[in-house]
Symmetry: C2
């Protein structure tokens, strides 16, 4: 079975908002073995929405509409679907009572206009919405299925999970899905794809998705088979091959981000971490403290954005900075050593570089970043030439620092 | 004139990627007075894409396709549009030569498959692409216009600006656009809309768009009129009313973010800033150093994520933390005072709070944040109860700190 998703709402046709519900719906549909073959966004116009529904029914077994179920004149989805199917709308006293009760619970009186939400398309099944007033609707039309879902994500998501997924599962041939997720650091997307494509291509019942961010790549495998052991075998077998090809560059087998993986390693070893940040200005600490409970291993550190602060807060000799420049192996090492000593942490990371757009350091190109690491045994630094604009260089630098620590641990 | 946008690419029908080109295109089209009435995403299937083109031509004066112009078998946009229009494809030796030259410039040999990109739909005008091998195409079809644009944003954007906007402008009735952009801190979106809606509603020739992020709201005004002075008058008049209503909550009249506005104020006053961050863990420093040239006023500071570091790095009495808890007015003040003294900056901000999901401080709910500010004259702190999850609380806290400093300056 294939599906088309229609998002209804003039606000989604402006220059600032995207229909993100479709990503959530696509993920749920793919898990059930349903592929999405078209997505569209249509404004709050009853004729245009009806046209879109008719066009979708020409192509797809399943048509999902999101939005346009509210109480105002702009909310045309019910009317449009009724028009496209040539069905009537029926007032449901039960729904009206539910809406009224919802208002009463919040000590508000229901405004008459809300009764628009109590109309069901003839033959539709009401889908309970526990997070808003507009119920969803499930319509069987010959062999085809239509779903009308509310637009707000906090209403659409639980409603889809609890009301739609079980109904769809009962309609679809039984399938078993098994997934694996890997994360990889320190490798460009194109190199990674070139490396693993020969491994994943032959697995036609496994969908391999590669998602790249600055210095971080996610690989998702999803096997879909008629029996459970086949699905498990396929995903395990391909997963194993990918793990072997990637070796040490693979850092996560459960989707955890690099800051969480490094955090677990530090916690296991009873180690602690401090940072000294120049060009990242706090971004490395911010990433580390994204993880709840990170105070178990991350103590804190220094934002030493100016040369004067490198000297004042970390005790780095001003003559060293003058002779070597702030973007140098010697200063990166001195920053890591200083952060470790000043905080008493077992480990310290430092980052110093030129994020751009202009370089303030003579002879140093934007994108040049030194990462230092001080451990109980040693202090050393690595040089990176990172691509992209200021923002991307800073994100890459954080990722490079975390990955350096991971490899050392 | 109205437009439909069709994004071509099976990768845009998965659960992880959205068509963001359409936002850029919509902004450009709206500026020219063209409204987008439908957007769709179609996979790499020649029949489906041709169907989508035919459906769009039934409804819109302008049809824009993005993506599917590359050299591989998957790239079907040229074939699909030719099919939909009933036109042929013509090989252009000039384009083939350009592609070959592009490869030669990079010291690579052109693979034969790239010649697929040298086919123009009969009657199309080639749109030069200086950032990739696939040229765009401009097709006039009776009164209607079709554009084929490359999918990568770094190719699509400049090509649209330089090749499409001038051609469209020449076709459209002359209009004058004048815009204003405001940014507002410290106010929920719903309160803001309630406050300014009575002002903007009567201005039917001005489009007002409100965009909200954590603690930060943007208001965009766009007046579109047949003559220049009307457009300017409208946007100025409404802008003035909005400024009066918002008063001191309005922090930017040119779209600059809060960290840049605060930075300019510090620079003008010859002041400097340090930070001491607990729950934000570096996020405040990261935001401040997002701005190129921020080393003019931002010196750096301290990530004091644990209580021990608040004592060790900032010299805060451990008994004060024990008696008042780390999330308290006294500790926020001590952190700001300590950061100012240790760095020698004229001003210092501190942030200490519980970002959640659990609270480690007895009696303190997640979302509770104290922001301290030390100036040459005084030290004081403000209490915030911030909504949302860990990530959102941290972003709100940074915004609250920057806004506190702005109001003090």
């Amino acid at each position: 079975m294939n599906a088309e998703i229609i998002a209804v709402g003039t606000e989604l046709l402006g220059a600032s908002r995207l229909d993100t519900n479709s990503l959530f719906l696509t993920d749920g549909l793919n898990t059930l073995g349903v592929e999405v073959t078209r997505k569209s966004v249509v404004g709050d116009d009853v004729v245009r929405v009806a046209d879109a529904v008719r066009a979708a029914l020409d192509q797809a077994g399943l048509v999902i509409l999101s939005g346009g179920l509210g109480p105002t004149e702009d909310d045309v989805t019910r009317d449009a679907v009724a028009l496209a199917l040539g069905r009537g709308l029926e007032f449901s006293q039960a729904i009206a009572d539910q809406i009224e009760a919802r208002f009463a619970q919040r000590r508000r009186k229901m405004v008459e206009i809300n009764k628009r939400q109590a109309f069901l398309i003839a033959g539709a099944i009401k889908l309970d919405n526990h997070n808003g007033t507009a119920p969803g609707q499930w319509i069987e039309h010959g062999d085809q299925i239509l779903m009308l879902l509310p637009g707000p994500p906090n209403e659409l998501k639980p409603l889809f999970e609890t009301e739609c997924v079980p109904r769809l599962t009962a309609r679809l041939p039984q399938q078993f899905i098994r997934t694996r997720a890997f994360r990889v650091a320190g490798m460009p997307e194109s190199d990674l794809d070139q490396l693993i494509a020969p491994a994943y291509r032959p697995y036609t019942s496994v969908t391999t998705t590669i998602l790249a961010a600055a210095g971080d790549i996610q690989i998702h495998l999803r096997a879909r088979c008629a029996n459970e052991s086949d699905a498990l075998d396929q995903v395990e077998e391909l997963g194993q091959k990918i793990e072997e090809l990637l070796g040490d560059r693979l850092y996560s087998r459960n989707g955890d981000p690099l800051e969480a993986v490094v955090g677990s390693m530090l916690r296991e070893r009873g180690a602690s971490l401090a940072v000294a940040e120049s060009c990242t200005g706090g971004l490395l600490g911010a990433r580390l403290t994204d993880v709840p409970g990170s105070s178990d291993y991350f103590v804190g550190g220094f934002e030493v954005y100016t040369d004067a602060m490198k000297t004042r807060l970390l005790g780095i000799d001003a003559r060293l900075i003058a002779s070597e420049t702030a973007v140098s192996e010697a200063v990166a090492n001195a920053m890591a050593r200083g952060a470790r000593e000043k905080t008493g942490a077992t480990h310290a990371l430092s980052v110093t570089g030129e994020a751009g757009p202009q370089s303030a350091t003579p002879g140093v190109e934007p994108g040049t970043v030194w990462v230092g690491l001080a451990t109980p045994e040693t202090v050393r630094a690595s040089l990176f030439h990172l691509p992209g604009n200021r923002n991307r260089v800073r994100e890459f630098a954080v990722q490079a620092a975390l990955n350096l620590l991971r490899r050392a641990l």
